[in-house]
């Protein structure tokens, strides 16, 4: 097995900063914005984005988490997963611009489950998607609005995202 580092810690920080600016730009400011991370690492990325947003426009970094386990279409084929908590910010999501955040966009099935889960929590005005890495191979008509890095991969390659808060180290590698 070989591992190739494609993003270093500094690259990740730069990508998240750029995404934050793009979010503000597309939302025409920081009002009615809710950043929802998808567990596990999406939650941490969402927190960082919210922090950057708050730095640029104080009060704009409303953040939460959205667990999609109970909405997945692949539960049967895998060992039972323990769900993670969902935390919707106090103001809810009705009429808001919700930005879903995940670490890697691949088949699109996780995002499909997230859209279903979101519907059970309320009715946002707009839903956007931000990912750190888009590795291609979509199986559903889903695309990201904000992408840290596009990484064309082969099907047998694996993307590993490591963040200091959850993993004690910070990098993105491709393993093959």
């Amino acid at each position: 097995m070989t591992a190739r580092t494609v993003l270093q810690a500094a690259d990740i920080t730069r990508a998240l900063t750029r995404i934050s600016h793009e979010i503000l730009e597309s939302n025409r400011g920081g009002s009615d914005l809710v950043i929802l991370g998808i567990p596990t690492r999406g939650v941490e990325l969402a927190r960082r984005i919210a922090k950057i947003l708050d730095g640029i426009e104080p009060g704009s970094g409303t953040v939460g988490s959205l667990d999609v386990t109970m909405y997945r279409d692949d539960l049967a084929g895998q060992p039972t997963r323990a769900p993670s908590p969902t935390q919707v910010p106090a103001g809810g999501i009705d009429g808001k611009t919700v930005v879903l955040v995940d670490d890697v966009l691949y088949s699109g099935r996780t995002i499909r489950a997230a859209l279903d889960a979101l519907g059970d929590h309320g009715r946002p005005k707009v839903v956007r998607l931000a990912v750190l890495v888009d590795r291609g191979h979509r199986e559903l008509p889903i695309r990201a609005d904000f992408v840290g890095k596009n990484l064309p991969t082969a099907l047998d390659e694996r993307i590993r995202v490591r963040l200091s808060e959850t993993d004690g180290a910070e990098f993105v590698v491709i393993e093959s």
């Binding site: 667990d67 109970m70 539960l75 895998q78 039972t80 323990a82 769900p83 908590p85 929590h121 309320g122």
Partner: protein, 315 residues
Amino acid sequence: MRHLLSTRELDRATAVGILDVAEDMADVADREIKKLPTLRGKTVVNLFFEDSTRTRTSFEVAAKRLSSDLVNFSAKGSSLSKGESLKDTAQTLAAMGADAVVIRHASSGAAQVLAQSNWIDAAIINAGDGTHEHPTQALLDAFTMRRRIHGRASRGHDLDGLRVTIVGDILHSRVARSNVWLLQALGASVHLVAPATLLPSELANWPVTVGYDLDEAIRQSPDAIMMLRIQAERMSAAYFPNAREYGRQWGLDDERLARLGPDTMVMHPGPMNRGLEISAGAADSSRSTVLEQVANGVSIRMAVLYLLLASETVA
């Protein structure tokens, strides 16, 4: 976990895992749309050879919140009351494609017999078998205790060091048996209080301490006191003289309630005999967890259904 037959088979990690999933399920109850699509296309059968509206309804709400199809197969007015055997019923349910069978039966071990048989391949959930076990009741009791202590930050916690006193008809109580094993797994210590007639003759293997005196047990200021329902027919079988004497010796009356610590949880699996094993004042006091227990029952049963049914792969 393939079936849930007894709390004896649950180790600490598994038990805490179930309680944690139940926390997520409890969150669903707070949403406007109290439904998850997780078990769409699965069929859950409530197979109740004994009447129990509370438990049956709790499983029914749990199954429906997870979007499974639910079939009630109850004793009254069906083939079950006409002497159809467990085997024939099980094979019928198997032919209908049941994915899980929630069974309540008057005979101890009925759920285990069903799980060991080759009559049906479904996940079996014991919803009370005779005087043996009632595992989801014990899980919801533990969940209730954990939430009283840790509130919303309950995830990951066990019940280490908690002191629980269980009072009443231990001999015939499936709730007591399931609680004893589960509380032990979660690190709590258990004290049993009952007249000698209502205790099993041999308790050497039980991880408990035993006493006859409720007042002495109250002096030890337990963290939780669980009052068991006393059945009227025990009187005629000479287990104790009459209701008045039982209430005086082993009932949680207002005077005993006053001597309990301010944070002592007062628990009862229901349905209660108010004025017999528990006074109205105790049942309705702020220390009483009775209604929380009912609400938490749905969350626990959702968690169990999810853990048994969501994956077809044995972990």
